[in-house]
Subunit: 344 residues, 2 copies
Amino acid sequence: MTQNTLVNRRLVLAERPQGEPTQETLQLNETAIPSAGDQQMLLRTEYLSLDPYMRGRMSDAPSYAEPVQLGEVMIGATVAQVVSSNLKNFAVGDWMLSFNGWQDYALSDGSGVTNLGSKPAHPSWALGILGMPGFTAWAGLTQIGKPKAGETLVVAAATGPVGATVGQIGKLLGCRVVGVAGGEEKCRYAVEELGFDACLDHKAADFAEQLAQATPAGIDIYYENVGGKVLDAVLPLLNANARVPVCGLVSQYNATQLPEGPDRMNWLMGLILCKKITMQGFIIFDDFGHLYPEFAKEMTQWIEKGEIKYREEIISGLEKAPEAFIGLLKGENFGKRVIHVAAG
Amino acid sequence: MTQNTLVNRRLVLAERPQGEPTQETLQLNETAIPSAGDQQMLLRTEYLSLDPYMRGRMSDAPSYAEPVQLGEVMIGATVAQVVSSNLKNFAVGDWMLSFNGWQDYALSDGSGVTNLGSKPAHPSWALGILGMPGFTAWAGLTQIGKPKAGETLVVAAATGPVGATVGQIGKLLGCRVVGVAGGEEKCRYAVEELGFDACLDHKAADFAEQLAQATPAGIDIYYENVGGKVLDAVLPLLNANARVPVCGLVSQYNATQLPEGPDRMNWLMGLILCKKITMQGFIIFDDFGHLYPEFAKEMTQWIEKGEIKYREEIISGLEKAPEAFIGLLKGENFGKRVIHVAAG
């Protein structure tokens, strides 16, 4: 069943995944479409963003944010249109960046919602290059990575919405940029379309050697979004005073236990000490929200001049979202994965 | 044999230690006292500083500094007097902060040497509270730890020259300060003499539980100078946006292999991410040398007002230095350990 005006389809968290989410993790059900009360508006979801952080919200392990409760609609950023409104400043037909979650309809009192106007050129971009992923790339790189021209920057998930943006900004700022991605096609895209100096396939048996060869002057900035074996290969190559913005660890999100030893935790501390490394974790709007206007202005200019490219992978149908999310965690996406909820 | 005017006693690196240094690591031998040539001066060592970083220089593992070569005099900071001088600005009898290493006499062309004048009040303090350890405490805490009044600061080696200074500065800046030290006597000293809010014995079986109880509002700053089990107990207690200046890892310096698993390295990365932690390694004069005048001014005022206390443990005789250093790595010192080379 596709989106309609009779029912509200919702994907609710049915069980907490152990390891990879499965088809049982989220359950599709239907409710009545709610009506907008006083000081409310009804939003109809057009696009739903899929992002790796959502895996964390499915878990009740301690984290920076509350987990989604069992039986509740899975959270998520959305681009939506106003269906009816009892709020001034929000007119029927206006496009919103909102947080409807994984469902067709949601009520809002306007708080935490950004009005994109009646005719945004690229509504879904508010979920990507002009939204959280783009801002995450820009702020982590500029505020923690602090790139200087001539330095070497390494970033994984090089064709994903964060990695692709990190690398392109790095090039604009004069860095040598080495990407890491899964498979030849993505690597070719990173070099030929995004302008990376090199991009390596982490599936190659000699990946660590390839990375060493591609970074002859060492690594000054490692924008961390995957962890695991990419991190393993990067650490010995870090230069003195290297910076490591810690944005994500997608290779670890489905892990159910710690890997076998030896225990390298104190070894990592020793590396941080001897090489005078800075590592900093960040949660984009908590730590850098005040910089959003600066980001939006700079990114809009880059896009208008054609200096930053952006690739989306739009999948039609809310019912496809669980499978698309499971694949996202495995790196199956090529570009920013968005669900076109109103289609399909 | 004590220091005299006939020979130069030297402790040279005889073999690289595997694990703990032993009595075979350094060898005492004698050479002729050199003569000052043109644009040189001859310095006689009065005090030799013993510091944990020296363990790293005994090893040829990659690090931020060149290792001492086998057969060479062990390096070290010293306070010395000018015996003869062919340099203007350096008069016979003047006291110098120099880098004679573990020996009675050394030549210098004046570079890298600080003239302390003819009658410094506490010459050996240039090796401690007013020198590298004090500056390390001040800069790591203020520049990376960035303490705010009301925050909780944890520091180990709480009666050592760095830890004691970190904690006292933390108190002056309004923090709740919890020290960690080895044994009841040191803990009592940290609380009663240095003014820490609490100090815990890391040898206690329930140390981790004690630390949790002593930090009811969590930990905002962990000044890392030991690693190992203190780090293990601290990590779960770190608050969001905690800062961890990584100054040293003395519990790990004699390690010959990585500990058994599981491997917690990616777990640590996940903690840095979820709690938005900043970890930064630093080498004091490389990273913060430009701030030394500011430190010296502020610390001198604190000492003059009696707001910072400083404890030395002076051991007489160059020949005692190897054993004293081995003990330092085990935490046997109580205060700043200095060898009075010219005595004994």
